[in-house]
Symmetry: D2
Subunit: 423 residues, 4 copies
Amino acid sequence: MEHTENIFERLESEVRSYCRGWPVVFEESYGHTVIDESGREYIDFFAGAGALNYGHNNPVLKAKLLDYISGNGISHSLDMMTEAKSDFLEAMDERILSPRNLDYKVMFPGPTGTNSVEAALKLARQITGRTNVIAFTNAFHGMTLGSLALTGNGSKRDGAGVPLGNVTRMPYHRYLDDTDTIDLLAKHLEDTSSGVDMPAALILELVQAEGGVNVATNPWLRRLEKLLKEHGVLLIVDDIQAGCGRTGTFFSFESAGLDPDIVCLSKSLSGYGTPMAVTMFRRELDQWEPGKHNGTFRGHNLAFVTATAALHEYWQDDALTNQIKKKANIMRGVLDKIAEQVPEEAQQVRGRGMIQGIEFKDPATAGAICAAAFNRGLLIETSGASDEVLKLLPPLTIEESALTQGLEILQESVEEALVSIGN
Amino acid sequence: MEHTENIFERLESEVRSYCRGWPVVFEESYGHTVIDESGREYIDFFAGAGALNYGHNNPVLKAKLLDYISGNGISHSLDMMTEAKSDFLEAMDERILSPRNLDYKVMFPGPTGTNSVEAALKLARQITGRTNVIAFTNAFHGMTLGSLALTGNGSKRDGAGVPLGNVTRMPYHRYLDDTDTIDLLAKHLEDTSSGVDMPAALILELVQAEGGVNVATNPWLRRLEKLLKEHGVLLIVDDIQAGCGRTGTFFSFESAGLDPDIVCLSKSLSGYGTPMAVTMFRRELDQWEPGKHNGTFRGHNLAFVTATAALHEYWQDDALTNQIKKKANIMRGVLDKIAEQVPEEAQQVRGRGMIQGIEFKDPATAGAICAAAFNRGLLIETSGASDEVLKLLPPLTIEESALTQGLEILQESVEEALVSIGN
Amino acid sequence: MEHTENIFERLESEVRSYCRGWPVVFEESYGHTVIDESGREYIDFFAGAGALNYGHNNPVLKAKLLDYISGNGISHSLDMMTEAKSDFLEAMDERILSPRNLDYKVMFPGPTGTNSVEAALKLARQITGRTNVIAFTNAFHGMTLGSLALTGNGSKRDGAGVPLGNVTRMPYHRYLDDTDTIDLLAKHLEDTSSGVDMPAALILELVQAEGGVNVATNPWLRRLEKLLKEHGVLLIVDDIQAGCGRTGTFFSFESAGLDPDIVCLSKSLSGYGTPMAVTMFRRELDQWEPGKHNGTFRGHNLAFVTATAALHEYWQDDALTNQIKKKANIMRGVLDKIAEQVPEEAQQVRGRGMIQGIEFKDPATAGAICAAAFNRGLLIETSGASDEVLKLLPPLTIEESALTQGLEILQESVEEALVSIGN
Amino acid sequence: MEHTENIFERLESEVRSYCRGWPVVFEESYGHTVIDESGREYIDFFAGAGALNYGHNNPVLKAKLLDYISGNGISHSLDMMTEAKSDFLEAMDERILSPRNLDYKVMFPGPTGTNSVEAALKLARQITGRTNVIAFTNAFHGMTLGSLALTGNGSKRDGAGVPLGNVTRMPYHRYLDDTDTIDLLAKHLEDTSSGVDMPAALILELVQAEGGVNVATNPWLRRLEKLLKEHGVLLIVDDIQAGCGRTGTFFSFESAGLDPDIVCLSKSLSGYGTPMAVTMFRRELDQWEPGKHNGTFRGHNLAFVTATAALHEYWQDDALTNQIKKKANIMRGVLDKIAEQVPEEAQQVRGRGMIQGIEFKDPATAGAICAAAFNRGLLIETSGASDEVLKLLPPLTIEESALTQGLEILQESVEEALVSIGN
């Protein structure tokens, strides 16, 4: 291990981050299991920050990928037409869009979430001729300048080195306990002297994952959508972390019955942890001029192949949705139990589907639990402004036995952490 | 073909572009050969806009990739440590950095060129505390808002829907035939009332590929670098399209003897057409705070595997460099001949290494040649502000016979195109 | 009259506004009386939008001004030293700053309110190294780009023709009836992921005059100031319309006991309706480099002369303050009575000192009252986002008899207006 | 003197500047003469930085002003109609616009130069729907954020504390000795990938006064205007310092025969050193909505009175223009002689009409000359990026004898300065 760790310290930029909390070199993985170079196994409750919803090296996807590569399938194609892309579009239509009556066009904006968000912003601004976009407190939408302007995190914003503009910040649901934050937004839009320029769009995460597992309720969401429609403001849903089944349905907005104008998807879209993203929008919004937005890796065909396989494997019926519901209940049950056991430390349990979190009064507690879990063979991370929320994000396909095992390790880790920090 | 083309028109956004000039569905590829679903073969003089320098499905890389996937190698790892990443860093050090005495740190900024440029901008602005960055006329650096502000193309800039700031534009070498454009930059930097805020950095392509195969000469480049050093302005080289051997050496700045502060690489870095990018910078500039820039797909291990293989296969000796030199001469010879044959239409032949171009007076000529070439089984594209430059970008590893065959098709296409547009 | 009105229509830009509601040519004025070219007299309840607190052509000031001009006193001096400026600084110190224990430095930023605000912004941003500034809903701070970014009015913002940045908008006191808007600001400042960049300053009007006579209460103001101090955010008070005695004390912040870091004054500062402004700030904030902000008309000595006379005449004792208190009660009494008489139409009476307003449900009501008043010889204007608030702004020095007469006209105008619009 | 100087040091902000070079308190002035509190007289070759073209306390204007004030003429009127404003508009039409066939509308944007420029920018951006504006190297257009973005001076720009955007900088005439700078601008506008967004307008000073008395030639100006017309870019002439007769004609653009779309005037417009400005534009550009730009001091009637008097007194025939021509020759003759006498130190004599300058190799020389001149009773200042240009700006109405006397003092001061700094 030494010689390899060496090269990271010697050659990789100080910007690296996750590797500091998990100081081992990983070598192999499958399903919910990750193995380091010493052969030690870990249960993965992190799933690539939501990029591995179907588990590591999912065998169904893997077989298709190996076949494709072996057969000299097109690997790279910019925005040319390929069979792999055709198959993906057909699958997206058949498995996702048509069943949900979504008449969306699909754009390949580049292979990452921030590409998808940047494309959504461009489209909304061009169509409306407006420059302002509303983003929420604690939002996370990416690191390139357009997306970063939407992102709440102060340290990451500061990285820009320039002031970030053309965004108005509004408080997310429950940002102030007893205030209906839609009232404020409504007044801002209605009052012509509010000083908030009429926005092109509002960008929304239905669950703020990086922001601390903050969950918007359906009534709040419906009121939000209604307000935006009244004012002709486009609704962009950033479903990059909460989409692809994470909350139980393919899109996170299905249970609230929202009808977004633009949807951003990435992370688990390829299903294999490989870079891929789409921006989708109502057909009548497809007012792009050819080539007005481009990029080298829009046609990442290896990702198309696994994405297609994932759509066919997991979204032809309700099996996965039902599984998620069941596992979510198991997760929630254990978190509620933990919260009861440490009422002084735990502030709140929250989440939807298989993204669940527990907020601690002291961020150090959450950090100590992660460290203890790692030592016991569980990969789990924090989120929130001060890393005060323990975030559970196992693969959706994890077996129940492994989920239970992981949750047991978590309970032990909580106990250990509380002892170690002096309780 | 019909049913598949159908799905693109029905479902894919109008923003798609290349597929309009090449209206076939591609299915398979190897080396310099691309095959459409009807079985028709094409010689590829486009190489994924420079993303396939080592050819399609390069067999050496492919074997490593299949092994890695079969063995359940880690696919996705954010910025955790993996064996694949370790191997890549070692190879980058051994094959590229050490032999060139470059004491760079390596950052994984996300898997695309624009991610690399955005990270470079952030770093330069943070380190210097300045917001302004100088970019050149006809530059191309990407589509996300930070990079797009650097990019010259008016239609793409317009896509932003917001004014793009914090960039000062300077004329590239030979932008005005007889004017030494460094004089203007020098005066701007020296004159405290020039109105040009002292920049954090200047970003440079040594060959402006998208901008029309514009080539900077070594004396101009050296004078530029000297001027920047005098004023404490960082030099960022965007080697995304011109790097990875395209001009003959691994980096495009080697022959001029430049010593850039920051270097952006992507496109052919993975060697397999899969998304990967790095931002590299002088060790003392590595002042990043952990996590200040992040992103889901920084640890694209499948790309690390092929990138490592490519570095070992092609950059352990001068063989590739020598080959490029030879093939570049062949290309240049044919282009010069074409230019002589159609002196009215052809304005200038230019290029370095295996990126070569020929500028036509009338952009329609360049377009007609591309169309004729496609019909004859050659994939070739235009670049430049008005698509007036035919750009030759074959895989570096193309066999000489195929290169010659492609150039013959090109010559025939020129003749056909000139006839068809009325000469 | 025809021939003169003619020239305005023919030659003056369509941007002109007040002259449309009062379509006469004014010729002479004194005290609270304005006379048009036909000889008709008007009682002035507008006072130059707060620029004529001491009445028109105040005889004390007029005498000093005539003397000064006759004696060839310096008229224009940029930022050179003159006797007139010396006298003004002495008077400001003796009559205003010293009695209030304000250890301020005085800057002459140019002769208008927006100059004063722009200078305040520059200073706050330079000192803190931060770019963001917080401004309130319905704020009005001026028309040049820096001040306009702070201003709430949508039509005026739109005039910029560019997006206005580096400002975060927060809801003013009672913007949402039952919400404590300080809570939201507090959370934004405390939460490092709120997405609101730590501001250099917050700019505050204690009474939002243009914004609709919105009044902040003392407890809210004190909580605001405390919060800003905790976070190291500078407090800028824009006292351009509410200062110079309008609310009863020289500064509007005296009754709340605030201790602003920076104060902007203009409008009635010269006392004669002539352009003059200052920006004042705590001594330790005077970190300006010589000449870093300049302008041609910073040394408007004719204005210094009358400003000095006004300070000595009106601010050597409490006489004016006591008068304002008495007259404010008279005004408030009548407004309350009106509100009682038309409970359906009148929403709220509000104000402080001699700026008082009455909000109507229907903006047309407020407009009709102004028109009726004009016909009856009373100049009065509306304010607020939709011009829904009738704003009373008589000269502070108006005689009680004239005040009463004006209020009677107002009552009659209300009755007439309500009849005319169908009540 | 001590006690008064005291108050400036104690109470006035460190931002003050001119008073540092001329450390006396001025008390009285008339014509070209300024008198300090000790009774010492100075010849004024500075004229309020161009705000006193008709001399101090011009007796014709003074008489009108005293009459108006004595008669209780309206002092302040926002944008209401007054007799004084009517008279001014009539005079502007009769004396200036009609004789020159200029079909301009007149806007009162606020009483200072920067107000005029901000209004011009707003109008140009609104009309064209574009955000970018082109400004020249070494330009000076004001200190509020919109104008400051146009201004070249680095220290003043830095005062903004935020990046200044929406402006593209182009080199002024002769910025690079032998380069035709129009070529660069032309290429930038023609090339759709130049990276310079098509501008709403270009703003031009025909003589850059603050920038170092840089003079544009008529052929260059005509080529510039032609180019802008071809591209539909509005031409804004900032005639704030060079207008009102300074170059010999009322507008500085008359000799080149330019036909600007928008003209900014201020400084000497009131004729009395009191704040006043207008923005004028071609009738068809008057697309302002009522009230979209406002401000308290747009109706500074005391300034209207003297402005009207000045127009009638000085612009009813060619007398002043002829005088300026004669005096300009005298000035130029002496400067040429100085330049011949000190060829090592003097770089260039340049100017137009009664703004003339001499550039010194070493800025210290120019500074030493100013200091020597002050000691000998002559007020003269420097300009240019490094204060390297001695700028002569006497009142246009100065008697020839005084002009000659001042020039003699200047010659003596040059000699003294060169001795004192070691020649």
